[in-house]
């Protein structure tokens, strides 16, 4: 029992550190990739290739002056960054990041907690992130923050519908909510017959995947759905009045959310840690998982460098008139084939 606790604690520490480092370095990756897409070179001064830039940014943010405006709802104002930050980190509790291994005679499952309703937990927790944004916008008593928060809440509620419906196809096929079982079902040949392709759900659910990706980007408030921040209209949106570490909590929260959503996408549609040569090198599974997440992150950044921001009415029309009916259609068709 004791060794279980120790192993779990070590895993928790490793995962949290890995996620935070990942957040830091996804900012670096974003700046580098967007820079190269605009013929620039991105950060290049701190360390070789600017690799220490996230560290320098972190130090800068910690030592910045903490400005707390007058006439704010102080309790909510102080709580909001944590509320938006914690759910983003919580998601990683149920995401399997590798094949189960044994280490010094202990069996170590490469997942923090193997919930049998893992995917439901993920969706429940990511939806909580909206509270941080709304409370931040409301407690700042600033019109820019408020506008950002209102937009963000409307957007996230609208896209939550499509987000939830887009994965129902996968769950119908897999007939399970556990992420571990979902990954195990995606091993083996495609549809049991095509041997050179794995049975990843992107092949069975292409429409579901596109819908998931679109809604996921909207859920994490990323460009081109970054109505909550919209720096060209709303200064910085919901975190206009925040500075120093509180601002960086929102920032880390946003990137952690991106990584979380990427992990969920990799798990649901790309077979999670599944890949070739796993029998001989089980530790490769972690590498495969990270590689898939990085692919998703690259897509996020690529999208940001490519498309301009949606207008608010376009966003709402797109969410309710396009994504929602398509997600319903996808669910119905999948259900029909599953019953057959």
């Amino acid at each position: 029992m004791l060794e279980m606790i120790i192993i779990s604690s070590i895993k928790v520490i490793i995962v949290v550190i890995a996620v935070l480092t990942g957040c830091a370095y996804s900012t670096y990756m974003e700046r580098k990739v967007v820079g190269h897409m605009q013929h620039r070179i991105g950060p290049s001064y701190a360390g070789p290739f600017g690799l220490l830039q996230p560290l320098a940014d972190g130090v800068k943010l910690i030592f910045k002056e903490e400005i707390i405006p007058d006439n704010i709802e102080k309790t909510t104002y102080l709580l909001a960054p944590a509320i938006s930050f914690i759910p983003a980190i919580l998601t990683f509790a149920v995401i399997p990041f590798g094949k189960d291994t044994s280490f010094f005679g202990f069996d170590i499952p490469m997942v923090l907690s193997d919930l049998n309703i893992g995917i439901l937990f993920v969706f429940a927790v990511t939806s909580l992130g909206i509270y941080g944004i709304v409370l931040a916008g409301w407690s700042s008593t600033s019109k820019y923050s408020m506008m950002g928060a209102i937009r963000s809440s409307a957007q996230m509620i609208s896209y939550e519908v499509g987000y939830g419906l887009s994965i129902i196809g996968v769950i119908l096929i897999a007939n399970t909510l556990s992420l571990r079982e979902l990954i195990e079902l995606q091993m083996g040949p495609l549809w049991g017959t095509i041997t050179f392709l794995p049975n990843w759900y992107i092949f069975s659910q292409p429409l579901g995947f596109i819908l998931f990706l679109t809604c996921a980007i909207a859920e994490t408030n990323r460009s081109p759905f970054d109505m909550a921040e919209a720096e060209s209209e709303l200064v910085a949106g919901y975190h206009t009045e925040y500075s120093s570490m509180k601002f960086s909590m929102f920032f880390i929260g946003e990137y952690a959310n991106m990584i979380a959503v990427s992990s969920v996408g990799a798990t649901l549609f790309f077979g999670g840690w599944h890949g070739p040569f796993l029998e001989s090198f089980p530790m490769l599974s972690v590498f495969y998982f990270v590689a898939k997440v990085i692919m998703f992150m690259f897509f996020y950044i690529w999208l940001r460098a490519t498309f301009p921001r949606f207008r608010y009415d376009q966003l709402m029309n797109f969410g309710w008139k396009v994504l929602f009916p398509l997600a319903l259609l996808n669910t119905m068709v999948t259900a029909y084939f599953v019953i057959l």
Partner: protein, 166 residues
């Protein structure tokens, strides 16, 4: 229904085009010049800071004739003549006000002795105003001499008229 069809059309026909554009630019060479660490090579005839030349035996080329000061459109050259022990004229004081100077290079072209050159350097920023007065000791330093096609021409002309270098 119309919205859905248009969105599907956009996803499959228009969005890949946009993605392709950014991806193509991603693999192009960045235009950024990593400036303070890497400097852009200037063209051979670039006109930067001034240098005064010496002959190979170490004596100064400048004879303080004043032609450069006369040619200078911004009137930034000040000089005072003197004679050395051999009775040759030289510039006791030769100053160029870099703030007034417009780096036109007329002094370089006017000089009959090939004494003044405009080099490749262009970083003059300084918070001390006095440092912008270029004095002789600043300008007489050794420098990579640039080959100016006009100078070659002038040298040939002077040879033809019998004026020879030392």
């Amino acid at each position: 229904m119309k919205d859905i069809l248009r969105a599907i059309g956009n996803v499959f026909l228009k969005m890949p085009k946009g993605f392709f554009v950014t991806l193509r630019h991603f693999f192009k060479k960045p235009v950024t010049l990593d400036y303070p660490r890497k400097k852009k090579p200037m063209t051979p005839r670039y006109k930067g800071r001034h240098y005064l030349e010496r002959y190979d035996d170490g004596t100064e080329r400048c004879v303080c004739c004043g032609l450069c000061a006369a040619a200078c459109p911004s009137d930034c050259i000040y000089m005072e003549p003197a004679e050395n022990e051999k009775g040759e004229r030289y510039a006791k004081i030769y100053e160029i006000n870099q703030i007034r100077c417009i780096y036109c290079g007329f002094c370089e072209e006017a000089c009959p002795e090939e004494a003044i050159f405009l080099g490749q350097e262009y970083e003059f920023s300084n918070s001390d105003l006095d440092s912008f007065i270029m004095t002789k000791d600043k300008m007489l330093v050794p420098h990579p001499r640039k080959e100016n096609p006009f100078k070659k021409m002038f040298r040939r002309m002077r040879k033809a008229y019998g004026v020879l270098d030392k």
